[in-house]
Symmetry: D2
Subunit: 463 residues, 4 copies
């Protein structure tokens, strides 16, 4: 087919420059939508038939042709051609090659503008579903590891300074809730994507007596766009998807940072499984947390795609503009980043080992029980700010001498902080400290178990 | 008060460098949270009282002191001091000045980490509510103008080329639905912000027997954070708010672009009210759409704030890090951008004039009825692609001679497109074209009226 | 080769999970660096030979092997394998297959960290050179069209409102200078990329007696990195390249916006060549400026890549981190966006047509000579602000009656603006207005010719 | 003054809505340009005088008035008013109040478009100069600390895993070179900003016989814009400035991350001075690296401002559009972020302490000499990949038994790695490892001293 002729040639005196053809073409990436394109076309042609817009026999030939093409695509036997610009024209052209001119009737009452919008809505719904599933699996791993490590106590940090010890289970559950919010946002994406744009035509609807609701129902949409201009120019649901993916990556980047830290020699209490680490071609001793680093690094990439599409959409008049073709590659790449990241994280978390011996060493002798000591003074009637001062001085005293709280002698205590009763000191172990935080959402065992139970209920309710 | 002494001095040998003090201080912007801070403190102190953690009389003195301070702040009589770092310390310090050391008991069982998180949750809920309200008002104007301009026909564009005429009402309603989606996203923000973080302490909860649910209920929260680490390190709801605001701005930037175009000399069919335009200090003839330009330009600013916080959050380990103090100024500025933009847009839309005479001129003689002519050929049995070719040739023929479709003589028609019946030509007026698109979401009068009615129902259901 | 074994296996008990292998692998994109990788390896092996680190015969066998591989890659006969992770290991592995274990000596005294840094420096220098060349060509078209359209007068805009008429040549030359600045920035990129990192090893240099300056000279570098840590962790030159490309796109996006506007029906004075426009599959009358729209839309993409890498680099400790592998794909894609955009713009500008008839119509009857009228009053002794007021009133008077300045009768003038001498009115043609701006950089013919001459000199001096 | 009347009232029937006035106003931020505005006005008025465009006596009265106003502004006695929109109108209005209608002649031959562009060019040059100076000072501190800590050996990392030990001086010097590149980029900014836009008028020049070169020379510019449209619509130099600042922050964010890590309990070999750290209001033991965290966090902010202006500029037609008013606040805030960050970093670096005892402990017993052992095998004739395997196995053997290399017995060595000669083992101390890297840019003492000397020469050449 001479494209300049058959697709939109009448008004034109010459075909596009070959560079233009290549620049405009999208088939090298939008072929990813082929299955959705055919699914949409079949629903459309059935409706055309039901509405009497095309003959039953024509509709059946078209549908049969589409099914054949669909199979060939699935089997990797279909050759997409750049000269045919996009996935839609590739399929329609092939259809006409196969079943003759009647194939052209498939495009009755629709435009590529509403057709590609339909494909993207189907794609987004399906892919968001997959990301939801991957989050669910990752949360399952978190629940399992939180159960397994319920009684492991780790240092808790603020400002990356030792703050108060926490249960590792508690730490893992913090991520459970982050990913749960990611799920909520993705469900919002699905909700917003769950409207059929088909029937909006190029921008204004169509002169054919189509039934938009019928097509929407066939395809499982919850509703239709109420406005044809909006239907073809809306890219909100893609932006919202990109934002939800950016947030997933942000959470993963935080988790990555921690795994990188905790598996360093200096922290050293997490050991990644060999299958989730890599070595150095130069330094034989290295065991590098490449996966965590890549996930952290790829966060920028997903942020970039979000920013890119926001920029593209800025200041575009209604309705369709070619700029909007830029809505796909960034999303595709974001999904190709987020989905493996989630898969790898699940495996990496599931297989890591906690070195309890190292944790015991780390927790010895830091001063992260200081708040508890201040609280004890408060209970003894000392105003909080004064108690804080007393304990701060004691920390300085002990740190200067490199003595842990629990190793302070009564004499030392008397010298540095006479307000502190010697027997309080024995309560300043990490285990006591975590058990002392009994309010909901705190670190005491029963509070964490209760939290875990709530989390598990939420997780079970996902479907 | 010597800060280095009273707040956290015990461990330190010297106070912070004065540049550090200024760099760390946040009171110059977080004083905006003062009302929420006091509201949260009152709820907290009532709970401390009910739980018997502090004495009734103490609680009452604290509450009374806070009420006094609150009034002074409202009346602009309170002086915030940088040396006291943030809004929380300013208020607490003032409280202690007034009611004595008992004021220090207010901070029992909480930390600045969960306190500031609480303030931000209250702030976000309130501000999101205001943006929802402003969108509601803007939608009201859109409904009113859509009703008023139901029968005005304007050129519809794709690629900024004339595509098909549409009703101006239809065009306006496209924006109604965009802003409706913005509202949905904002409601998601409110939902995610509707959890109380108080009681999470610095990161791990508290050793005092607080009742987190009680405080949450007093403050009207739907629930509480289940995990203390998550409670103090979550900034998702702020990011989500920034994203929702970025999308609002994106929509406004598109609308702005259109107003700028349509009020240019070349388009010329929209006249902005003098109160919503500005002149030039140099060129006396100018009437500039400054508001629309500024809104379009400020879109970048809101995008930038979103990107800024995403970047800040990337790779931060749990729980609180000082980096997170960066969550406020961008959001404050985004709100100070979006809220006036929405207000101004409502006024600008409400007061603009449509120049029907200019529209009549514009619509004469373009070829945006070409699709309808092709559709007529299709109904006559010509395959779509062939019909498209015939009409494309006719457009070229007519354009070369600068003749409108409706002015083509039968002889010219016979020469250029013999397949076209001369009496079809009379149907190629803009009015016929818009009326021909009868499917749901299309441009026919009854379809737009039906759409308007649905929109109005949605709008009425907002509260 | 079992990768886990041969590359870095000793320390590991099991090979990486296959998902990890795929996630870490970069060969699917970094194979683009193959030619530079081999060029760098040859320079390295020659130096090793000269320094006596490896034997002459060994060096020659390695170089011969590399040359063979290089040819096969050029001819597309080389098969890159994901299991070998990256372009470096693919080539080294193939080398060893061919020439035996001696191939392993190629890696003596270097690490993949400095090797990939070297490849990227060579790549950036070469690609920046190509972009410089494309800008040069585009500027050539601008000079040619500015010469051709020296005497075409078009409306000049501020706020997209008619401001003052300008020569089209002047307008085109504005872009000449923008692209000239882009060239300057790219030259800065080249300057910063013109240092060899080789010899930095993984991070700390090497224990072999290499000669870094020798390699740098062989490869045509202006110098070497002075610090090994910096050499392997610097990504500034890539960021700077991305920024320079973002600015190119920003300029092209502005030009695109103008071409889209000027080729709309409403402006209508630019006609794109059919070879640089596309049609609609649905609307036979459409002639869409797809190229300009795509370029405008793809601006977001290049911005996104810049933001992505900035984000990735944020907060990374020295020296190499795996995150930095993310420095390539964004740059590759940015180049694949910018280079065709520049090529297409040159062709599109070269082939467009200006419709002088349409310009004459447009310029009739607007009030963009108002500033000149005010200036005339000022010369007559009226203070500027008063003159502005007089002319503003006259514009309102004339606009209300839809009369052009030049068509105002003396009676009307006497009524609306008695201060204005009737014979001034005849000077208010577009031609007079552009000729009146004689200062340097202004719109008078001799000023534009002078500017053109300077531009042409700058352009000639490019090499 | 009624603004709607005097500035651009003639054409308007009513003044702007008060919300519009507030939205458009920029004086609350552009008053920061006041000194540059007056400096530019004085140069302009002197030129007008020399060219005979205004009378000598008029020019002198204007200049005297401007000088008075300038002093009042400096002394904080000038009241800027929002109703007068921007800094230019505030000053011009005040001038006219003082010296009468002749003040209006100041605006002869210029427009606010070229005037504000002039102000920004002067501002950018001055501020870039200040940032250059701050970088110079920070580099001075780096040189001093590198000299002081020449012989301190620290762990060097890749992937945050111990890679090879390096001198702390070497590590510090890596930052010296990064900041040196930042300086180069800033000099590029200055070069591009060093052109005077004055005389471009609103967009097309002026009808008055001004001398643009004269004004440029008075103000110390290297040249003038050759094209009036370009002069008023160019924002490249601001974008370039923002990019240069973003890169500075990126470097600081990396340094911050390291200071945060190295001052954590786990690393623990850097002690921040108390004056550059802060405590916790809750946890008495905390010493938080707030400054480093804030700098790292604020990196997002500067990135965001860059992205914001890039977005704003995307797709804007020539020449001036109101959107461009958005070029200022982001830059102002970026400077208010970067300048204190640089100042604080210099102080923080200057005052920190290195804990050598802690470093000695850390470096004991890691395997970061593994590469040297492999290199020894290579020198003994073992191919590199085989040597790597041998050492990898030895690392695993030693790590399983928690033995440092230097503590391996000959028997153990014979068992685990018989190829390794026992006497090589004694060379595997950190000191030997750093001394073994003698190539330029490496870690041997003389190489670092040589590097330091080059750095110091570069620094001295700054001026």
């Amino acid at each position: 087919m001479e494209k300049g002729q058959s697709m939109w040639g009448g008004r034109f005196r010459k075909p596009p420059h070959e560079l233009v053809e290549a620049f405009n073409a999208s088939v090298h990436f939008d072929k990813r939508l082929a299955a959705y394109d055919i699914q949409g076309s079949i629903a459309h042609v059935r409706m055309l038939k039901r509405q009497g817009i095309i003959a039953v026999e024509e509709a059946e030939r078209i549908e049969a042709g589409l099914c054949e093409i669909s199979q060939e695509i699935e089997q990797g036997r279909f050759e997409f051609r750049t000269a045919l610009e996009d996935v839609h024209m590739n399929i329609e052209h092939e259809l006409t090659e196969r079943i003759g001119a009647v194939g052209g009737k498939l495009h009755t009452g629709r435009s590529r503008n509403d057709q590609v919008a339909l494909d993207m809505h189907l794609f987004v719904k399906a892919e968001a579903g997959q990301v939801l599933e991957l989050l669910h699996t990752l949360q399952e791993v978190l629940l399992a590891q939180a159960e397994r490590y319920m009684d492991i106590v780790i240092p808790g940090y603020t400002h990356l300074q030792r703050a108060q010890p926490v249960r590792f289970s508690h730490h893992l559950l913090a991520y459970f809730w982050m990913f749960e919010r990611d799920r909520e946002r993705l469900q919002g994406v699905v909700r917003r994507a769950d409207l059929s744009p088909l029937g909006a035509g190029a921008l204004a609807g169509t002169t054919f007596p189509i039934d938009r609701v019928d097509v929407a129902e066939t395809l499982g949409f919850a509703g239709i766009y109420e406005n044809s201009l909006d239907a073809v120019s809306d890219r909100d649901y893609i932006l919202e998807f990109l934002f939800a993916l950016a947030t997933v990556m942000m959470h993963l980047s935080r988790f990555s940072e921690e795994l990188i830290l905790y598996s360093s020699t200096e922290f050293g209490w997490i050991e990644l499984d060999d299958a989730y680490a890599t070595g150095s071609s130069m330094m034989p001793q290295k065991k590098n947390p490449d996966v965590a680093e890549l996930v952290r690094g790829k966060t920028g990439r997903v942020y970039g795609h979000l920013q890119a599409l926001l920029t593209t959409c800025k200041g575009l008049p209604l309705a369709y503009n070619k700029d909007m073709q830029e809505d796909k590659e960034g999303l595709f790449d974001a999904l190709d980043t987020v989905k493996p990241s989630l898969r790898l994280f699940a495996g990496m978390l599931d297989s890591l080992t906690v070195r309890k011996d190292r944790l015991d060493t780390l927790l010895q002798g830091d001063y992260s029980a200081a708040t508890d000591l201040a609280d004890a003074l408060v209970r003894d009637g000392v105003p909080f700010r004064a108690a804080h001062e007393v304990v701060g001085n004691l920390v300085r005293y002990a740190a200067d001498r490199q003595i842990a709280f629990v190793d302070l002698t009564p004499a030392q205590l008397a010298e540095a902080a006479p307000q502190v009763a010697p027997d309080w000191i024995s309560a300043l172990t990490p285990e006591h400290v975590v058990e002392a935080r009994t309010s909901r959402g705190g670190t005491a065992r029963f509070a964490v178990v209760e939290q875990w139970t709530r989390a598990e209920e939420v997780w079970r309710s996902h479907r």
